[in-house]
Every structure is written in C-alpha cells, then in structure tokens.
Amino acid sequence: MKFNPQQEKNRLEELTLRILERSKRIGADGCEVGASASVGLDVQARLGAPEKLEMTRDQSLSVTVFVGESRGSATTTDLSDAALESTLQAALAIARVTAPDPAAVLASKDQIIRDVPNLELDHPWDISAKDALELAIEVEACGRQADTRITNSEGGSVSSTRGLSVHGTTEGLLVSQPTSVHGLSCVLLAEDGESRERSYAYTQARRPDQLLSPEAVGKEAAEKTVARLNPRKCQTAEVPVLFVPETAAGLISSFVSAISGGSLYRQSSYLLDRLGTQVFPKWVTLKETPLIPGAMGSSAYDGDGLATRSQAFVTDGILSSYVLSLYSANRLGLQTTHNAGGVRNLFFQGQRDLHALIAQMGRGLIVTELMGQGVNLVNGDYSRGASGFWVENGEIAYPVHEVTVASNLDRMLKDDLIAVGSDLDLRRSIATGSMLFEKMMVAGS
C-alpha cells in the first residue's frame, strides 16, 4: 500500500488553487474547495482461512461556489481537467438559481487558522496483504480458542487506511491534514443448546503500535459472546439502568446534536433556549480537547478553517455554550464556537470503575447493546431496543435480551444521572465512562 502524504498534498493543493483561481474567471464571487485522497487495505479471514482481500483507493473533490449571497455545490470523484471544469460549472449553475442565504459566508482572512500544528495524526503501518491476512487469522483463532461454546465465526479482520484532505477558499485559506486509522476486529458466534448469540470486539487507533494485541481482541470477543448465551426477558418495570461506555457514548452524542446549531436554528431540539440553564447534575463538566496529539478525534482546524480550541459546553451542570459553525452562528445571531464538523475529543469520565457502579446500582439493568434509532431530538423522547444483564444484589444475575429502555433524554441527563465511570472508551471522538441512571422504563415480559 503506497501513500505519500507530501506528494498527495502537492497534487491536491495544486488542484484546489487552480479551481479557486478558475472560479473567479467564470464569474464566481467566492469559492470553497475540499479535496481528499486515501488508500487502504482491508482483509478478512474466517474459520482459519483467508476470505477477503480488498484494496481501497478513493479520491473526491467538492466545490461550493458563491454568486452574490447565493451558493451551489458539486462533488466529483473524477479529478481529470474536464471533470473538474464541469463540476465547477455545475456548482455555478446551481448558485445562479438558489435563493440568497446571507448566513452562508466564507471565513475571512483574519478568522482563518494561521499555522497548522502537527498533531501526529498520520502513522504508516508497514504491513503486507499477506501479513495482514495472517494477523486476521490469528485474532480469530485467539477468539475461537478462548471458549468451547464458540462454535462459529464471522471472521477476524484487519484494516489500515491513510489519507489526506485539503481545504481552500478564495479568502486565502489553504490547509491540509494527513490522517491514518488502523484496526483489528473479530466477530464470533456462540451456541449453547437452543441459544445462539453473536458479539464482537475491535481495537482502533491512529498508530499501529497503539492497537490492542490479537489475543486481547479475540479473547474480549469470545467473552462478550459467551456472556450473552441463554438470555431471558426481564419483567416490565421502572428500574435503575447502567449504560456501558459503548452504549453511553450515544447518549452524549445525542446531547451534542441537541446543542448543535443545525438542530437549534431548525427549532428541532429539546434544548432550545436552554443556554445558561441546568442540563446535567452540578458535578458534570463537558469539555472538548481537540489538540491531543494522535487522538482519534483531533483536528487543528474546523470545517470553516478556524483554529480549534479546548472549551467547555457544560460547566457545573449548566449549558455554557452551544456547538456552532460560522453558518449556524450567523443563523442564530451568535458567534461561531469553531465547531464546524462537530466536537472533537469530548471525554466524560468519573472516578469509579464499572464494578463499583454495578454494586452501587444494586438491582437493575446493564445495557451493553442498543438497537434501532428511537431518539427524538425534537422532544427528547427516548425508546430503544436493548440487551445486557440483569443485576441483583449488586452482582450480574443473568443476560437479558428483547427488552426496550425508555425515558426522556432531558430527564435522564438532568435529573436521573447518578454517576459516570472511569472506564473511558478512547476509540471514539466522543468518549464516556459507564453512565448510571436512577430509573428508566424497561419493557419486557
């Protein structure tokens, strides 16, 4: 897998500048270009033999053209001169017919980032397709050997991707960032009598040496799968519910969506007009830290080309800031929070481990897996399919499946959140520890 970030940078920057220049000559008042290229290797092995070898090579370019206060966008994966010209013309044609949108502006020269720090987000993994297949076979073997009840497999897989994206505007922005993501995963099936379950485990990082070992991934997949065997439905009742980090992260993501500009100016958030009011218990502060070297969510600049910064959205339980881009800030008559493209490395972590939280809960449901969408951001209503474990006397009693958990996000996060665990899941940009809620309606038998 050959990828030369410097060469890609030169190629895509040259294209970007050429299109920005050309846009002026065909009558555009402003122009924004995003160009990206990536190469990757994706392999899979099943039941000890190679199953899939895939090389990915993607490139695309998007252009937004401004005519007065109107705009039009177009994208292409063909970067030939003819295709780029017709893509630019298509964007221009759209900009001539759309209604003016005064909120849509390019970041000005004095707003855009000056020096892009190196956040060490690109790390090559020098692995051949043959060695990647061997590793995929190994991770699966580790999982299949871990327990006799593992009877089948959907395979072990290894992936490695490197890419680079360039962002330029006619206001003088020209920045680029190379990134890499490597991963190892395993999906297993277990059987015990009539009961059949599947589960998985994965590791993901920007640096290959930060991946968990194949033993660790295979063993975790096996343990998670076997633990689900012979599940029961629990009784319909209002009980305490504990979300593990993999399911809890979705609650924080939904909260972030509800305080994001797009939901706010569309009046589609249950947190409309709630700035300065309580949205979490007093002990909660939610902060993003976008400049951590090598982290999954790191970026030196946002989608508008403004420098990212460490900042809090919730301070001592109070909603202290929305999540805004230049566009959504203009729509709301506010200042951008440099969050075009979302929040980056938002971590929510407490002091105690999962074991301590289970003991604290005493009796209730641990949710390890969620199914379906079921989150209504307009009013905060929450209802999703779930499986996990029933807890009795502070200890796991039996696996649970085919139930739903329901409540309202506002009530859950503001009134019912009791504790957050220390078990942070750093594979994600929005990462939390386990979250314990005083009560939710669990529908079962």
Partner: protein, 479 residues
C-alpha cells in the same frame, strides 16, 4: 437506435479509450489459477439534490461518480480492488490486487461474453436534465405553501427532491455481459408543528424508478403534505405510550419494515451459508403462522427496489421466501449460490463499484389474507394500532429485531382512541411471525423511500404488507 448495451458502454468506456470489444480480453485476464469466478463492474452515476428550508431553496448540490470494480473469487475467497479511472491500465492494476488472493498459477484460457437480455421494468432515462432547476425549485416552494396552509401549527417545513441516475455495465468470467440504466427519484417532506410550547415532527416521502413528470404532480404534493402535517398535528396530542407485551395491529404498506427485519435479513444467503443466521438449516420448517406468505420480488414495474438485472448481471426475479408459514427459500448472489450449490436468485447487489456485492433484498412483502383492519381492531381489548414507522434493525443470529413506530394509537375495548408517543417495538423474528393471527385483505406497498444498510453498504429497497394483527409484541413505551 442503439441498444442499451451500446449506449451504456459508449458512455462509460469511451472516455477512457475503451470499447465493448476490449471487455472479453480484460475479463479473460482474470481467469487464472484457481479463480472460479471473476467480474468487472463499471458504473457511471449522477445525482442532484434540492433542499427547501425556511420557505426557500438555498441549498442544492450535484454529484458525479464513475469507476470500475474488479473482483476475483476462488472458493470462499474474494479479492477486490477498484478505480475511479476507467482505463485498461487501471483495470490491470486492480486485477493484480484481486487475483493475489488465489494460489494457483497461469492462465486458464479465454472467456466468451454473451449478452444477457435486459427487461424493461422502468424507463431508461436520465431524469436530471428533464426539467430546469427553476421548475424543481418552484415545486418545492409549492409544498412549503401547501404545508403552511394545511395547519396554522406548522412552524417549519423541510422538503427535499433527490434525483439519481446510474448506468452500469457488467462483464464476468461466466460469460455474463449485462447493462442497465437505473433512474431513481424521491421526494420527502418533514414538518414541525407547534402548539402551547410543545413541538412534534411529521414526515412523509415517495418515489421510485421513474421520471420527474410523474413524480412532481399536484396530487403527490397534496398527499405528502397531508401525511406529514397530519402526523405532526396528531403527535401534538400524543400521550405516553404504554410499556410491555400487548397485541399490536399494524397498518398496511410501510409497516412492512417488520418483514424486512424479522424475516428478510435472516434469509440472505451469506448468513445462511456461514450458519450465522437464526434461519440457517430451517428450509422446510414452519417459521411463521399458517397463511403467511412472504415474497421478495425485484420485477415490480417502476418500484424503488426493482432491478432489471442485479449487480452481477443476473435477471431479478420473484422469490418466495415463506409459503403458508413454511420457509422455502433464501436470497442469493452468485458467490453464495455457488458455495451452497443452489441457483442464484438475482439478489446480488452492491452500493457502488467501490463495494463488493452481497445478497440483498429488493421489494419484500407479504401476500394478502382475507381479514379486515376493522375486525383486527375490534378484536383487541387493550393494545396498539401502529400506522407509521421509522427504521428498524435486526440481530440475525439471535433473531431479535426492533422497529420504531412514529405514528400510533391506543386500542381500548375494540376502538382506536388516543394517539401515543413514538416507541420502539421489539421481538424475536420467528416468534413474532408465529404470533400473526389475522392477515388483512389490503396489501399495499410502501411509497418508495426505503434504504437498507448492511455491512456499511446502502441500497434502495421496497417493503409492503397487508394490515396484520400480532397477538403479542413488546412495546417500548414509558407508561
């Protein structure tokens, strides 16, 4: 008049200096060593989207994509690479990656391509240039006006017009040479209604494989506006949904997403070959109530999920999956059909040239029975009548699935009473299918908005069903 194959190959191959005559030798180069099957999948796609918000169309975009995917299969192994440049040099580079997964050496001889016939289930036409941009925008503005006129409680209207056009060309070592032209249009409306500080959303959509002249009609605008606005207004008065197991009556049409999740995915050939589906090895067994017949049919005229030929060049067909409660068939692509020693069923689909094909659904629905919706509701003492749904999800190994009601009502003593808030419904595929006690005479297909996701790939699909009564289903309310 040029044939469809001539039109498509000229459009896709000529820009990169290739012609139809180059395909035989290029495919032949994939027939090496122990490769059982290999194919080239060429594609050229265009899409255009217009979005209305705040009473104006301020946002629109155009997208173009073209490329070729090169795949080689040997036993259970697949090697795959693709390029967005359609030239002989790039195809050979991708070929070197694709054939690296097999162990054998040396060429095995040529391939004779034979053109598969393409039925005409939908028009071979690009709907994008059919109307000028200002007409498309004017139509969306009309929807905005109609929605605001329908109810004073409407505070926001969003409407989106999506127009897509796709040309595909397939050449495979089994001699398949196929081409298709696939238009796909979709119109969707989402409104926010507001009353006494409470806000609720309602949405609707429709589309299919046809042109704009048929899509952009006053009747369609009225229908979509009525559905979205009325749903939002109803939800303004919704009470908390009950929680627990109870009888559920499902309306006809889009609630067929039940079948897509509870039955469809579990009957895809790959999961059954690998033994990972709950339905693996159950052919001939009863998996649903008597009277339940479930079909996947890619040959319905103009439907969103229909295909003249699938993405492996196999003609789509009508496949009976469950007949009178008994499991009779799976959905197959070429790879899984070969490995399971059965016939392919025209269900090999891929999101694009940059993705590997898999067995996927087309239009999945249940045949009608003879009960009426009124009889079903009358037979329920306390339960839910669910009219409209969002999406769903399934765990094909355990059989557990969910689907989320977006418009539903309480049934109390045989009568539909108060609207209830949206809730997720959860069940176990075969258990729920066996709890179907009444099947309606009112089979309806959905309006043409379905998107199915599997292993990170999205494809358009259709669903449908008559009204159904399910004796016991877990409803995820809060009351």
């Amino acid at each position: 008049m040029p044939t469809l194959l001539q039109t498509v190959s000229e459009s896709i191959l000529a820009p990169g200096g290739l012609s139809i005559d180059d395909l035989e030798p290029l495919v032949g180069e994939l027939s090496v060593g122990d490769v059982d099957f290999a194919d080239l999948f060429f594609e050229r796609a265009e899409a255009e989207t217009y979005s209305l918000e705040d009473g104006e169309v301020k946002d629109a975009s155009y997208h173009r994509d073209a490329g070729v995917g090169v795949r080689a299969c040997a036993g259970e192994k697949q090697g795959f690479a693709y390029s967005s440049e359609i030239t002989a040099a790039r195809i050979r580079e991708a070929r070197d990656v694709a054939i690296a997964i097999q162990d054998g050496r040396g060429p095995r001889g040529g391939v004779n391509l034979d053109q598969v016939s393409t039925p005409k289930l939908y028009i071979a036409k690009n709907p994008i240039p059919e109307k000028v941009a200002t007409d498309k925008i004017a139509f969306l503005l009309e929807i905005d006006a109609k929605a605001r006129a329908r109810s004073a409680s409407v505070s926001q209207v969003q409407a989106t017009l999506s127009i897509s056009y796709r040309e595909i060309l397939i050449a495979a070592t089994d001699g398949t040479l196929g081409a298709d032209i696939r238009p796909l249009v979709r119109l969707s409306v989402s409104v926010l209604a507001e009353k006494n500080g409470r806000r609720e959303r309602g949405s609707s959509g429709l589309g299919g494989r046809y042109d704009l002249q048929r899509l952009l009609t006053d009747a369609h605008a009225d229908q979509l506006v009525a559905e979205a606005v009325d749903q939002a207004v109803v939800n303004l008065d919704a009470v908390d949904c009950p929680a627990g197991e109870m009888p559920v009556v499902l309306a006809s049409g889009w609630p067929g997403v039940l079948l897509h999740e509870a039955v469809g995915h579990g009957l895809e050939g790959d999961f059954n070959r690998k033994g990972s589906s709950f339905y693996a090895g159950k052919i001939g067994q009863q998996v649903a109530s008597k009277g339940v017949t479930v079909v996947d049919d890619g040959t319905l005229v103009d439907r969103r999920g229909s295909l003249n030929i699938d993405d492996e060049g196999h003609a789509s067909q009508r496949n009976v999956l469950i007949e009178d409660g008994t499991l009779v068939g799976y959905m197959q692509d070429k790879l899984n059909a070969r490995l399971m020693d059965v016939a392919a069923t025209g269900n090999g689909r891929r999101e694009s040239y940059a993705h590997l094909p898999m067995p996927r659904m087309t239009n999945t629905f249940m045949e009608p029975g003879d009960a009426t919706q009124e009889d079903m509701i009358e037979s329920v003492d306390r339960g839910i009548f669910a009219v409209n749904f969002g999406g769903g999800q399934v765990d094909i190994t355990s059989g557990q699935f969910v689907f989320a009601a977006s418009e539903a009502y309480l049934i109390e003593q045989g009568k539909v009473t108060a609207p209830v808030k949206g809730a997720t419904l959860i069940g176990h595929g075969p258990h729920v299918m066996s709890a179907i006690s009444m099947i309606g005479d009112d089979l309806a297909l959905d309006s043409g908005i379905g998107i199915c996701g599997k292993n990170g790939q999205s494809v358009p699909v259709g669903v449908g069903q008559p009204s159904l009564k399910i004796d016991r289903l877990t409803v995820g309310g809060t009351a």
